[in-house]
């Protein structure tokens, strides 16, 4: 077989023989490198793998295994690897693989919560999660005690560990619309938030804890006043319509505002955890200190429609207190229903006046300041009146004023509570006056006036009939006579009447005679001798007196 083919190969070129090449088994380096790379990946993953913790939440909303990350200060420190139900199915448990660098987060006081977009509580937060999906926020504490099972918070903690700032306690009657995270404002700038709240142990109030960030915590002084700036404070009271709000966010979420009172005050920055009272509104917060409240009572003999509990009580125009109760009473003697109004007043609000009155009372040795003081003031005409504060709504307030004309009343200074005598309000006065007018009008004898008037009218009627029957025909006749007389006179004076014509002729004759007489007198002036010699002949040459007939006529006689 081989021999046959030999001749073919003879013509073929000889391969070149070169020096030996590198061992072909070097190709095994490729899988070795691949294995090394793979190994390095495994080692890397193993090194990078941090602790695994499980966090329980109420709901798995937004938690997506493999996708949802755990962030601290917006840096991803872990990832949710699995979500499952707890054994009692009340919660969900998210398994979180933390990164190696986040080992410190698996400690006792670390807090986890789910960051979802939420509206309220100081604005809109987590808006970015609308697009990126929820994530788990983390806040690490100072503990180093390892822990792997956590209970997630349902709301983000308002204060993170180690944040610079101070915490203060606020006491309030109720929580209002405040919540964890509600903003704290200073001069309408948010400087902190409500961190926690709880009912007081006696259940009579609420204590809120607020956190004010540094450096603005220095503005909280020992004399700062805090008030609830929640929502729109629209009050349509006796003192008119008031709209007050801190910011639009507070309208949605509520908030707390604080400020120092005006005027001289102690401006020492407050200590951490200092306690304050949370007032309901700015006005009450900024009002001078109320001092000890006193309860007074007033008895009104009139309808108090429009007077509400909380209506202001003013002393000479100064806000003095508030109405706390309005009750109807029954007076057996007069069979009337007087209204008993109870009010709490703060005499200290009168400021200097109060101080002086107290001093005066002390001088006189009066112990019961309020009642003695009041006794004197009532003597001088102090009366409580229910006045209309707002004509639009008809709301009433109680005004305490001096009415010098008020009738004297007996004042019991020892009564408890103190009863302030009342006077009818201005509206009642008007009502009284109208009633008086009506009473006077009622006294007018409209009946007899009507009767008399009726008789008089009958008489008049009769008289008129007489006039019509007797007097008027006579008058007609007389008038007719007069008319005739006048007609005669008229015709006598008519232009074509003979009397008129005769009169005209006579007057012409008289005119002519007068002219002749003047010619004659002129001629005699020039020729006085004519009287003796008669008329001279040359006078005929004169053309001037052409009508000589008349003068001659006149001169002749």
């Amino acid at each position: 077989m081989t021999d046959d083919k030999k001749p073919i190969t003879d013509d073929l070129p000889e391969p070149v023989v070169r020096r030996p090449r590198v061992n072909a088994s070097i190709v095994w380096l490729v899988p070795i490198i691949a294995a090394l790379v793979g190994l390095s990946l495994v080692i890397h993953a193993w090194i990078e793998a941090g602790p695994t913790v499980s966090i329980s939440f109420l709901s798995a909303e937004g938690l997506d295994p493999g996708k949802t990350v755990v962030k601290y200060k917006n840096v991803t420190i872990g990832r949710v690897t699995a979500v499952r139900l707890s054994e009692d199915r009340s919660r969900v448990i998210a398994k979180v693989a933390l990164e190696k660098s986040a080992q410190g987060f698996a400690t006792a006081d670390t807090r986890f919560w789910v960051v979802r977009p939420r509206i309220g509580l100081g604005g809109v937060s987590g808006i970015d999660t609308l697009l990126s999906g929820a994530f788990i926020g983390a806040d690490v504490g100072e503990s180093s005690e390892p822990k792997s099972e956590f209970t997630g918070l349902e709301n983000p903690p308002p204060v993170t560990h180690g944040a610079p700032g101070k915490t203060f306690d606020l006491h309030s009657d109720d929580l209002g619309s405040l919540d964890i995270g509600s903003p704290v404002y200073y001069r309408r700038i948010q400087v902190g938030r409500v961190s926690t709240y709880h009912l007081d142990k006696d259940g009579k109030g609420v204590t809120l804890q607020i956190f004010v960030d540094a450096p603005n915590d220095q503005f909280v002084t020992t004399s700062s006043r805090f008030w609830n700036a929640s929502g729109v404070d629209v009050s349509l009271g006796a003192d008119g319509l008031k709209v007050n709000t801190q910011s639009l966010a507070t309208v949605l979420a509520g908030g707390v505002a604080f400020q120092d009172p005006p005027g001289p005050h102690d401006a020492t920055p407050a200590q951490e955890d200092a306690a304050y009272r949370l007032f309901n509104d700015r006005a009450t917060a900024m009002a001078p200190p109320d001092g000890e409240p006193k309860y007074i009572r007033m008895r009104f003999e009139q309808s108090l429609r429009g007077l509400a509990v909380d209506a202001p009580v003013e002393f000479l125009g100064v806000p003095f207190g508030r109405v706390v109760s309005i009750n109807l009473d029954f007076d057996e003697k007069t069979q009337t229903f007087p209204t008993i109004v109870g009010a709490v007043v703060y005499p200290a609000r009168l400021g200097k006046a109060h101080d002086k009155l107290v001093a005066l009372a002390r001088e006189r040795g009066d112990d019961e300041q309020m009642s003695q003081m009041m006794g004197r003031l009532v003597e001088h005409g102090l009366r409580a009146q229910a006045r209309t504060g707002n004509l639009l709504t008809g709301q009433l307030y109680i005004a305490m004023d001096f009415l010098p004309k008020a009738p004297k009343v007996a004042f019991d200074g020892t009564a408890k509570p103190l009863e302030i005598p009342t006077a009818p309000g201005d509206l009642d006065k008007i009502q009284q006056q109208i009633a008086d007018i009506v009473g006077k009008l009622q006294k007018v004898p409209f009946d007899s006036i009507g009767k008399n008037l009726d008789q008089s009218l009958g008489e008049l009627n009769r008289t008129l009939k007489q006039v019509n029957g007797n007097v008027l025909p006579e008058v007609t006749n007389t008038l007719k006579g007069a008319q005739q007389t006048l007609g005669t006179a008229n015709s006598a004076f008519a232009p074509d009447a003979p009397l008129q014509q005769n009169l005209g002729g006579s007057l012409q004759e008289l005119q002519r005679a007068a002219r002749s007489l003047r010619v004659l007198t002129d001629y005699l002036g020039d020729h006085p001798d004519a009287l003796l010699r008669g008329r001279r002949a040359d006078d005929k040459l004169q053309p001037a007196p052409p009508p000589p007939a008349a003068p001659t006529q006149g001169s002749k006689p």
Partner: protein, 207 residues
Amino acid sequence: MSGLPRASDLGLVGCHVCGMVCRDVEAPDAACPRCGSSLHKRKTASYSRTWALLIAAFIFYIPANVLPIMRTVSVGDVDDNTILSGIIELWVKGSPDLAVIVFTASIVVPVLKFFALSLLLISAQRGSRWAQRQRSKLYRLVEFIGYWSMLDVFVVALLTALVQFGFFSQVEPLPGVVYFGLTVVITMLASMTFDPRLIWDGRDFDD
């Protein structure tokens, strides 16, 4: 078939590069007198090289599947996808056709190549004469589909280049794609180093 003489029987050796036929000198380091490339009756160390590359490719195939290959950020929603999760997502989100294509290219083809090459190697090494014709067809198939299994890499490259709409949509490649590319390239190399003539060498051992 058995009657036909083979080149080695005739004492001939062909140059792989320029095709020149030379006399078989049986020397281990013979080179082509025309183009200088080394002459072998069979591809040098075909078995060991193919095995080495195949093993390397298989090793790389693990991180290629475990690590995410692509990150899509659409309207802030960050989504890291491995090959399989990407396929599942495509299927779920209503593109089953695309899912099938990607599944074929990324899973079926590489796995098929591993199996096919292993089968060819083992059967050739054992000198089996079983289904030689089908085996050589299988080899040609492996060579042919080799190029197409780069589909995933192309998809990621294309998406990365095309879908960069900033905030709304973003695609970026992740390490997985590198391992996947390595797997594809190395399996291609492995199929190249395999000498299909070994399939037919089996009968030598039979005689």
